[in-house]
């Protein structure tokens, strides 16, 4: 037995040695290197204060809402695990592989998206406003690597209502309103679309061995095979699905429906008491020639430009939020700071959101309103904390130790962080007071 084991071990060792000896050609390609470097410059800009001689105006609510909608829908992608489904994908492995390759390698893409929703939704006012705004819209999209998106919204007469050009690498967005000649430049805190491409989120789905084949149908005049990827979302704990349509001849992805028709059928949307909204992406074209001018972040001649800097969050707002959270948890700081955007705490919050205001406690009302406020500002959660940390504190210096601390306890620290250019730490106590504390006086060791 020993001899056999030694032989096996030698075999793996030999394979590892051979593997390590493999000759590797020069790489990566200059194109990839340039994309990576370009993407990285955004990170450095992230860490620098935005210098503006610009006027600050109030951000247009509708634009923010649309962005929030896109983010929320996009956030669903990728948080899944699979449920058993008929083995429909394997017979079309070549088609799926070809479609995936095209998505991965696309440097330009154009497509249309139609949004729809159930009117029976009885969520909070803000959610209704958001849904009303985007429902029934058709938008024309274009993508160009690295990370540039163009999003044209049409009005009811099919005329261009607005054009949004987003640079997801440098985190800027220019919105043009041709009818009144206005242009607004936004500085974003997070990319609203995937920098690596519009359908990259679909790749994992297309690679799933549990894809269900939906048969063939005509999509925009092309015969296409349909595939469904169905799963339970961990974030919101319900069933979700995506339907994909791949041209039977060219093997290109030609349409995607989110959620799939098993969850929400837009033709029957007004008959159902569904909580879901959805969209249909179609007329997808990979590799069209797109002029750089389509993605220019310079306002065209004749437009009045207004500049909206990135949202700035103050320390006071963060402290206030901590207090609101503690109030919500029966005046005791929770074990860890919840994100409120997924999992158990999100479920609980959603439950409260559906209740009439009068039936909620004051603490629940405050949290619901606060979370909603920051959601509409398109800030990644929880609340204002992430945005504040990104802009103001030394990376990795945030530490939360609030478990069990009573709101009002002036003797116990809830959390601390180190502001940029500061040698001491800002310690937040249970009574929401803040003190400057030296590293050696903190209750736990910190990295300097």
């Amino acid at each position: 037995v020993k001899r056999s084991k030694r032989k096996d071990s030698e075999l793996v060792g030999e394979a590892v040695s051979a593997f390590r000896e493999t000759r590797v050609p020069d790489g990566p390609s200059p194109e990839v290197l340039s994309t990576i470097l370009e993407a990285g410059s955004a990170l450095e800009k992230d860490l620098q204060p935005i210098t503006l001689g610009d006027r600050r105006i109030t951000m247009k609510r509708i634009a923010k809402i649309a962005v929030a909608a896109a983010l929320l829908v996009g956030a669903c992608i990728g948080y899944s695990y699979l449920v058993p489904a008929p083995d429909g994908g394997s017979a079309y492995a070549d088609d799926l592989l070809a479609a995936s390759r095209q998505i991965e390698r696309a440097k330009t893409v154009t497509w249309k998206t139609k949004f729809y929703q159930s009117n029976s939704r009885k969520d909070s006012e803000a959610q209704l406003r958001l849904n009303d705004r985007i429902a029934g819209q058709t938008r024309l999209y274009a993508y160009k690597a690295p990370g540039l998106y163009r999003d044209v919204t049409l009005d009811d007469d099919g005329q261009v209502a607005s054009i949004a050009i987003s640079d997801t690498v440098h985190l800027k967005k220019l919105v043009l309103h041709p009818k009144d000649g206005k242009a607004t430049l936004f500085h974003l805190t997070e990319p609203m679309y995937r920098p690596s491409g519009p359908f990259v989120g679909a790749l994992e789905c297309l690679k799933s061995k549990d894809l269900e084949w939906l048969g063939k149908k005509k999509v925009d005049g092309r015969e296409a095979n349909g595939f469904r990827h169905a799963f339970w979302t961990e974030r919101s704990n319900h069933k979700w699905s995506y339907d994909f349509w791949i041209d039977a001849e060219t093997k290109q992805l030609v349409a995607r429906q989110v959620p799939g028709l098993d969850i929400l059928d837009p033709d029957r949307i007004y008959e159902e008491d569904s909580r879901e909204s959805g969209f249909f992406q179609h007329e997808i074209v990979f590799g069209p020639k797109l002029d750089d001018s389509l993605f220019s972040l310079e306002a065209p001649e004749g437009y009045a430009l207004e500049v909206e800097p990135a949202v700035k969050i103050t320390e006071e707002e963060v402290i206030e939020f901590l207090g609101i959270v503690a109030e919500y948890f029966d005046k005791t700081f929770p074990d860890r700071m919840p994100g409120f955007d997924h999992g158990e705490e999100n479920d609980r919050l959603q439950k409260f959101k559906k209740m009439p205001k009068e039936e909620r406690t004051a603490a629940q009302n405050r949290l619901v309103e606060t979370i909603e406020k920051y959601m509409l500002m398109w800030l990644p959660g929880p609340g204002p904390t992430y945005t504040f940390m990104q802009a103001n504190i030394v990376d990795g210096s945030w530490r939360y130790i609030g478990k069990g601390v009573k709101l009002g306890d002036k003797g116990r620290i809830v959390c601390w962080y180190r502001l940029k250019d500061s040698q001491t730490y800002r310690a937040v106590y249970g009574d929401l007071s803040v003190k400057d504390v030296a590293a050696e006086d903190l209750p736990l060791p910190v990295e300097r």
Binding site: K5, D8, S9, L11, V12, E14, A15, V16, S17, A18, F19, R20, E21, T22, R23, V24, P25, G27, P28, S29, E31, V32, L33, T35, I36, L37, A39, G40, S41, A42, L43, E44, D46, L47, Q48, A93, D94, L97, E104, R105, P195, S196, K207, K209, Q390, D395, G396
Partner: protein, 174 residues
Amino acid sequence: MTDWQAVVGRYASMVWQIAYRLLDDYEDADDCVQETFLAALQVARRQRVESWPGLLACLSTRKALNRLHWRIRHAARHEKPVDWSAVSSGEFGPEENARAAELTGRLRKALPELPPQQAEVFCLRCFQNLSYREIARELDIPTGSVSRLLHRARARLHTLLDSVVSEDQKESSP
């Protein structure tokens, strides 16, 4: 502040080598490098990166293994003939080179058969020489788990490689 240009300059070659060795395909490796650095950027936006080489080795290994896994599901359609020249070395004769190429190919096929975390630990330890502690930090697992996962990965690879080799011997027997 992160000097991204320096990070890319210093580690692009390392990431490329990890990707290429695992994938044995120029375009796939190119894509893998891009995905790795873009993913690393996302990490850097959210938290301080303690070790760039560790993070990049981990991300590139994971992404390359994912691609290998995808390939194995479509093995018949993605079969690539062994590139004998890829392992050629002046130190060995043609037979040794052929065996090395064969073993490398077998290893690429065997790795996606392992549970993902076992495969990652194995690659990071055996190909990248990361310490148990570094692997534990990058994968956010206890150091003891690294040792256990590595042991299981080796055992499973023994079986997988041995069965392949045995089959080959059987086939070549008269």
